[in-house]
């Protein structure tokens, strides 16, 4: 008997055994697709095989259709995004060896990976810091004015000037002997403050 002489149920029977080839496979699948009868026969073929191997598999066989109907509803609610689940999740609660095997199947990090989130936050923070510093430098180049820039005068390193309060008191007490420069803002030369005599 050639495959073309097979009736529809025989085609399904052979498909259930994985013994079809070429166009017959497509024919059988198309048949099951459009025929509930062929679908029920597919179920019967596998149920008979299961019961022959282990009779307890007949338990609740009458609920198989309800099981599939319930699953169908859930599958219809599934968005076509098979990449949402990785092998790692599937084996996460398994034994160590199973976990290692699962990691082999892991290809791409998932979008909600916790470590990825931290990397993203750290990246943005670094970028923001660089932009802020860069903006400050650019704005100083052409428009640097005012007392805030005093420390950078001449491009020399800033000098720390400590003012001695006792020296201030002394200079104030003898102001009549000193020039106006004595009470000016501290500057490099103040360290060598001299006692200026009134002009003769």
């Amino acid at each position: 008997m050639t495959t073309h002489e097979m009736n529809e149920r025989e085609l399904v029977s052979a498909l259930a055994d994985g013994q079809l080839q070429g166009d017959d496979i497509a024919r059988a699948l198309a048949l099951i697709e459009r025929s509930e009868e062929a679908r029920a026969y597919w179920h019967a073929c596998h149920l008979v095989g299961d019961v022959l191997r282990a009779q307890e598999l007949a338990a609740d066989a009458a609920r198989d259709a309800a099981f599939v109907a319930r699953l169908r509803q859930r599958l219809q609610a599934e968005a076509p995004q098979p990449n949402l689940v990785t092998a790692i999740e599937l084996v996460a609660v398994g034994a160590d060896s199973e976990r290692v095997e699962g990691q082999k199947n892991f290809k791409d990090p998932v979008a909600n990976d916790a470590s990825l989130r931290w990397k993203l936050v750290a990246g943005f923070a670094s970028l923001a810091a660089v932009v802020a510093v860069g903006w400050q430098l650019v704005s100083q180049d052409g428009t640097a004015q005012g007392g805030a820039q005093l420390a950078q005068a001449g491009g020399e390193p800033a000098q720390v000037m400590l003012r001695d309060p006792r020296l201030d008191q002394l200079l104030a007490a003898h102001q009549q002997f000193g020039g106006t420069s004595a009470l000016q803002m501290p500057a490099g030369f103040l360290r060598n403050a001299t006692f200026e005599r009134p002009a003769r």
Binding site: M1, M6, E10, S13, A14, L15, A16, D17, G18, Q19, I25, L29, I32, E36, R39, A40, W42, A44, C45, H46, L47, V48, G49, D50, V51, L52, R53, A54, Q55, E56, L57, A58, A59, D60, A61, A62, D64, A65, F67, V68, R70, L71, R72, R74, L75, Q76, E78, P80, P82, N83, L84, V85, T86, L90, V91, A92, V93, G94, E98, N105
Partner: protein, 208 residues
């Protein structure tokens, strides 16, 4: 836990997986129809709660569907599905903070028995009197149909379903063409399912 080899291993699973990935959800339902009983039996050996068994089986098939693109065909589909079922059951039990009740055979399967076997006649709580009765009815119908088969049909379907031989191997054993093997297995199934399907229709109260 090592999954046992499936006597039904064949190329049709890979084909159905391929069609599912191409967008044919009905192809996936054929895989479900094929394996749901074995998966539920496997889970029922880990979880003594009939409602939970079905929920976990549902979740197993959903998770397998989502991850189907990762099935590379290196292992049999059932082996892959088996691991998902075991891990899904463990995850459920962890979430529920319940201890799995795993039988000795479930933890240490040997090569001579598959996951459908149980030591002795140890009952599981998902076996209600009704389900036991229904299972017995179906099993008796199958056995009666087998006994009523002509010898060549019975031998062909036995070699296929129980021994797991291919059509080619059966043809060699029975010394007949492959087409004859296919026809004998088909006729045997016709005879058996003719007795079983009315029971299923009666028990479920409806058809497909």
């Amino acid at each position: 836990m090592t999954p046992p080899a499936s006597p039904q291993a064949d190329g049709s699973d890979a084909l159905l997986v391929e069609r599912t990935l191409a967008g044919d959800a009905r192809a996936y339902e054929l895989l479900v129809l094929k394996y749901q009983r074995r998966i539920q039996r496997l889970i029922s050996r880990m979880v003594r709660d009939s409602d939970l068994v079905e929920d976990i089986a549902q979740e197993t098939f959903i998770r397998a569907y989502r991850a189907l693109h990762q099935f590379r065909g290196d292992a049999q589909f059932y082996t892959w599905l088996y691991r998902i079922a075991v891990n899904t059951a463990k995850k459920f039990l962890l979430e529920l903070k319940r201890d799995p009740l795993v039988t000795e055979a479930a933890r240490q399967p040997d090569g001579d028995e598959d996951e459908t076997s149980r030591p002795g006649n140890e009952p599981t709580t998902d076996e209600t009197p009704e389900s036991v009765l229904a299972a017995n009815e179906i099993a008796q119908a199958v056995n009666a149909a087998m006994e009523a088969l002509p010898e060549d049909l019975r031998q062909a379907v036995t070699l296929r379903e129980i021994e797991g031989l291919s059509y080619e191997e059966i043809a060699t054993v029975m010394d007949c063409p492959i087409g004859t093997v296919r026809s004998r297995i088909f006729r045997a199934r016709e005879a058996i399912s003719a007795r079983v399907r009315p029971l299923l229709a009666h028990q479920s109260g409806k058809r497909w």
